[in-house]
Amino acid sequence: MSESQAARTPLLELRELSVSFGGLRVIDELDIQVAEHEIVSVIGPNGAGKTTLFNLITGVYRPDGGDILLDGQSLVGLAPHKITERGVARTFQTLRLFLNMTVKENVMAAQYVRTKATLIEQMLQLPRARREEREMNAFAEEKLGFFGERLMGYRWNQPAYSLSYANRRRLEIARATATRPRILLLDEPAAGMNPVETHEITELIGKLREEAGFTILLIEHDMHVVEGISDRVVALDHGVKIAEGTFEQVATDPRVVEAYLGASATVTK
């Protein structure tokens, strides 16, 4: 499987990507490739630069060097909403929902980039504005329906702050998929979830690839999730890629063990 994907142009490609904050090199000459329809996990200890990596790809920070290519086209220097328009969407490690908007509004707001009605058309409720509104509504219901009963029915018109923590994580994923991305960046989707919910989210990520056809780049600390769904795993430490390969290869790599547990530690089972 991996040979056939390597032959194609990768959907997302990071070339010698670097960024520094002050004197601190947070990402250092990083190369990562994500092929279409692949699930790649990024792991690493706290402070390894994983979330910074996501912030670079989505345009929150500008890299000092290197390039970010989506389907061969550079994303460097584009505003975040332009990058979303190209087909990159993300979720946040610390949830950033529009808490005082309803569940459905959260998902509909994310379709701004895929709609075109001008202010005048909206003010006068001209045909295009009405049609787009209907389509957005249906699309939002479809996206929320992806989570089974979790985000359906009476919850549509409730404010997002009334949702449980796990449902907020689901809503963030629904909101990200509503921008119609090609690649989804999921920042610790299982953080703070109990074992049952973690299992559910693992299946969901698989379903996002199989049924919805997204390519997924994933940051995750929960190794059950990483093991369960990753085609490939990339391990970061201090902004440098220290290992890449299947989960088994990376998990047993001595440098990964060292990064997590320290140099002199002996691993006992």
Partner: protein, 508 residues
């Protein structure tokens, strides 16, 4: 896996009755709990929710437009017209502040700019007399453009920093309008009169429709124009609010970074919100210029900005109906407070309502009220015995009229200590000293706990009434803003989101 391990069931439980664990029953009912089912406000909220909003708007505007038929009192019609202008201004400010969350402290510029531009185009100042159907759209378009230009700093500045820059623009505007009669093009040309300076521009043409001029001396003409504007603009804004741009504005207010990463061009949306607000203010400005037949530099100052903000905050920023209510409530209240005798009713009613609402249990309330009456009567008797002149003063019924007779006057004079000559000689020293003491007592009240607080509350309230009667009641301009401020403080303490504002959660 052992079979007896307790496994949580993620499937939704059967649709039987009663609360169900795991089915988020609590969440489903959150609306019932937070829906404001209590009190008058809750009742009004429920009525407003169940009635189509267009009907409420039509009822409100229908009443406003009917005022000229209900009364021939020009003052009342004038106040109604002013109120409609304020409704327009509050709706416009709500776009930037309530929906997009931009702290637009330069809002009054757009109102003033439109009024001045309309005046330039429809007066003898330049000898230009455009027709209304030409000048009004042109002025609104220019004001929207100015909105885009002045909000450009928001591309680089956010939050408080942007607000300061807008405030600075407002100061420039005020300076320009006041001194624009000797404008010399930065030394490049000869002095030129643009704004008319401190006396402004007068004799502005009235609005004309199909050759029929709307005489500004009949205020109802402009009441109807402004009401029609409110109707159209409220509908346009309501449509935008529930469409994609309105949702994007609210997303921007909630979390600009997340909105940007979810594909919303937040900088553009910010400019757009301020420009749309500017357009609404622009329309109000054109009505203002024709209605008052003149534009003056002191009409578009910080004080007006604060008043409009108070309306938006009091009504509930973000709620279109709320800010309309806020504009009506604040302007009517400010008008009522201009007349001392009306202001007196408002003052005592507010004190009484505050006590009834806040003092519990009823025994303490009765004790405080009884103590208040007794304290005043005793103080009156004591002062009368010691210094008869000290209770010989009249009470104010208007700016220049005083009375010692009448039911209410007699009642207050028996309860209050009113030194002779307080108003007649305009000697407010006693009131000023008492003011300082009352403030000290109020502060002490906030520190004390338990019964001591209620004991001190009695002389504090009486002292406040003394300051009111000897000093504040006759100083309309000061007092009304003082009372407005107190009302806002009280409201913010009880309903932080305004009367009709949605309850908002910042971080959970």
């Amino acid at each position: 896996m052992s079979t007896d391990a307790p496994t949580p069931a993620p499937t939704p439980s059967d649709p039987g009755g009663g609360p169900q664990i795991g089915a988020d029953e609590w969440v489903r009912r959150s609306g019932e709990r937070t829906g404001g089912s209590k009190g008058v406000v809750g009742f009004l909220n429920r009525v407003a929710d169940r009635t189509p909003h267009i009907l409420l708007l039509l009822a409100f505007l229908g009443f406003a437009c009917a005022i000229p038929f209900l009364t021939s009192n020009g003052y009342v019609i004038g106040v109604a017209t002013d109120t409609m202008l304020y409704v327009l201004l509050a709706m416009g400010l709500n776009v930037a502040v309530g929906w997009a969350g931009m702290l637009d402290l330069g809002y009054v510029i757009f109102y003033g700019f439109a009024a001045y531009l309309f005046a330039e185009l429809s007066s003898a100042h330049y000898g230009i007399h455009w027709a209304t159907w030409q000048s009004v759209p042109f002025v609104i378009a220019c004001t929207i453009l100015l909105g885009f230009v002045l909000s450009l700093p928001s591309l680089r500045l956010s939050g408080d920093y942007f607000a300061i820059v807008m405030l600075f623009f407002l100061e420039i505007f005020n300076n320009f309008t006041a001194n624009g009669y000797t404008w010399n093009w930065f030394g490049l040309g000869s002095p030129h009169d643009i704004t008319g300076g401190p006396t402004g521009i007068t004799n502005i043409d009235p609005w004309r429709f199909f050759g029929h001029a709307l005489d500004p001396n009949n205020a109802q003409n402009y009441l109807w124009v402004a009401s029609a504007g409110v109707f159209v603009i409220a509908i346009l804004l309501a449509y935008v609010n529930k469409a994609r741009t309105g949702r994007a504005w609210r997303a921007l207010r909630e979390d600009p970074l997340a909105a940007n990463l979810m594909g919303m061009p937040v900088k553009w949306l910010g400019l757009l919100a301020i420009a749309v607000g500017a357009g609404v203010a622009g329309f109000a400005g054109t009505v203002n210029a024709s209605y008052y037949q003149g534009v003056f530099p002191d009409a578009f100052t910080l004080q007006l900005l604060i008043t409009i903000y108070a309306m938006v905050i009091l009504g509930g920023a973000g709620s279109l109906g709320g800010v309309i209510f806020g504009a009506v409530a604040v302007n009517v209240m400010l008008e009522v407070l201009t007349t001392p005798n009306h202001a007196r009713w408002v003052f005592y009613a507010a004190v009484l309502l505050g006590l009834v609402a806040k003092v519990r249990p009823w025994k303490v309330l009765a004790a405080v009220l009884g103590g208040l009456v007794a304290f005043g009567l005793i103080a009156h008797q004591v002062v009368e015995a010691v210094w008869a002149r000290g209770v010989g003063g009249p009470i104010a019924m208007g700016p220049t009229s005083y009375t010692t007779h009448g039911f209410f006057a007699t009642l207050i004079r028996q309860w209050m200590v009113l030194p002779k000559g307080t108003y007649e000689n305009a000697d407010y020293r006693i009131g000023n000293y008492a003011f300082v003491i009352v403030i000290a007592m109020v502060l002490t009240c906030t520190v004390l706990k338990g019964w001591k607080r209620y004991v001190l509350l009695v002389p504090t309230i009486w002292g406040a009434a003394f300051v009111w009667e000897t000093d504040l009641v006759n100083q309309g301009p000061t007092t009304r803003y003082l009372l407005l401020g107190l009302l806002l403080i009280g409201l913010m303490a009880t309903r932080p989101n305004g009367i009709f504002g949605q309850q908002r959660v910042e971080i959970v």
